[in-house]
Amino acid sequence: MPPVSSPILSISGLSKQYKSGHTALGGVDLEIERGEIFALLGPNGAGKTTLISIVCGTVNKSGGTIAMDGEDIAHNFRLARQRIGLVPQEIAVDIFTTVWNTVSFSRGLFGKAPDPAYIEQLLRDLSLWEKRDAKMIELSGGMKRRVMIAKALSHEPDLLFLDEPTAGVDVNLRRDMWALVRKLREKGVTIILTTHYIEEAEEMADRVGVIDGGKVLLVEEKAALMRKLGKRRLTLTLAEPLAQVPAALSDWSLSLEEEGHKLVYSFDAEEDDTGMPALLRRLDDLHIAFKDLDTSRSSLEDIFVELVEKSA
């Protein structure tokens, strides 16, 4: 077992150019820490799925290397593949087979001896036990997706890829899935999820990577990213609208919204001195009254949009 601090997955200079000439990945460097939940964020067509597919072996790379625990996965592909589980974006199953059989099939395919007790527990965890003898064709979309997760976990991987796990999924399944992901992390499974739902990354991830146009734009601890790039806003609903921001308030970064009914102060979330109390005192001095006060913190979504726009 390598030291805990070393990355479980190291990707360097990974590139992919499809035969059509489209460059899906243009030299990606990425390190995934052992035991973390890593969210790979990016708009559609950013290269998320291509990146995952190359690591999992379903797409050939054009260049670069991928190492698992420091060893190039091309050298011992079996060992790497056996440790990796993949839940693809699309539901793809043999619709004529049963839940039990398809999950058992996956376990065998990945080189593990049958373990009915483990499969039973897995199906129970995913609320699939009652459906174990049902054919895939009889299941709802949500149930099929649960089966896809069960298949990916059937061989007890320690690195799990979830490609857009909650796209088109109802609230129940999404909640179950998040609970399952946390449970897996507690067991020491490293999880990489791609998503374009920011809330998912915000809810789940330890670290966030933003990818667009086949390049990783940034990798950061989620909390640090929110601190660094996150802005806070103080919105005051004024008793009387203002035509313009009074010159006496030029020390603060203020703007007017909704035809002067709202005064908005935006400031860096990480600064100790927010300038907020001073602003309120000054407003009092100027006899500018307000009816309501609201503060908000920018979400990962705002940060993301800003980043992607900046790179475009």
Partner: protein, 256 residues
């Protein structure tokens, strides 16, 4: 995991065999009924008016050809559907992402397809004994040809399954090439019965060598030498293996 992914091979092999069991009527009953019809029409109705071929009754004469006809078509269709289906449903991602190398995948898919063909061949052989007297002079050779042909054409079918991009392409080679070649390959006649010019043309038909060798193992008579038959079957198998090796090296039609 040691050198070979035994569990992986078994998972694919047994799920392919399970698919056969699910479609037992189509997989097993159809060839048996078709063969029985051939016996009734060719062996019974027409064969009774035919002279013996090389000392063998016509009904018995066509048995090896009929088995070969089913072996070729069944091997190709089993193996091609076996690998085309995951491509069609998208479950191929799982096979490609598994710790399974090309040899193991081929053993599993081709092994299952060939197993099914051999079973069908033996069922047809058993069925034929209800209609005619069948002798087998060289049982070991008979089994050898049965196995080699099933494997070689399952390999061929596997290639077709990887190549095909639609169900139409999947059936085009079996129906447009293999079936005509089989009918013209001496399944129902000895090529000695043909005019000399056509006999020469027939020698370019690969199926002639398969049927001839197989028939030799039954009755000790063939249109071409048994060595030629054996050489052809082995050569065809080697060609298919070489193509598959290239396919898996490049990921042609498997991986973008």
């Amino acid at each position: 995991m040691s050198g070979i992914n035994i569990h992986g091979i078994w998972a694919i092999y047994s799920s392919e065999m399970a698919r056969t069991r699910r479609t037992v009527l189509q997989s097993i009953a159809t060839p048996v009924i078709t063969t029985a019809l051939y016996f009734i029409v060719f062996g019974g109705a027409i064969g009774s008016r035919m002279q013996h071929v090389g000392g063998v009754g016509y009904g018995a004469f066509i048995v090896p050809g009929l088995i070969m006809l089913s072996l070729l078509t069944q091997s190709i269709s089993n193996a091609s559907v076996g690998i085309y289906f995951p491509k069609f449903t998208g479950t191929m991602f799982e096979i490609l992402s598994a710790p399974l190398n090309a040899i193991e995948a081929v053993i599993a898919y081709v092994g299952a397809a060939a197993t099914k063909s051999v079973i069908i061949g033996l069922i047809i052989l058993a069925t034929s004994t209800f209609f005619t007297d069948v002798r087998i002079l060289h049982p070991v050779w008979m089994v050898g040809f049965l196995l080699m042909t099933s494997i070689a054409f399952s390999l061929f079918g596997f290639i077709i399954g990887i190549w095909a991009k639609s169900f139409e392409q999947l059936s085009i080679i079996p129906s447009l090439i293999v079936t005509p070649l089989t009918f013209l390959g001496g399944a129902f006649y000895s090529i000695d019965m043909l005019p000399p010019a056509w006999r020469t043309v027939s020698l370019f038909n690969p199926v002639v060598y398969l049927v001839s060798g197989f028939r030799w193992s039954f009755y000790g008579l063939g249109d071409v030498g048994v060595a030629a038959s054996l050489g052809f079957t082995a050569g065809f198998m080697a060609l298919c293996l070489a193509i598959l090796w290239w396919i898996f090296q490049t990921g042609w039609r498997l991986k973008p």
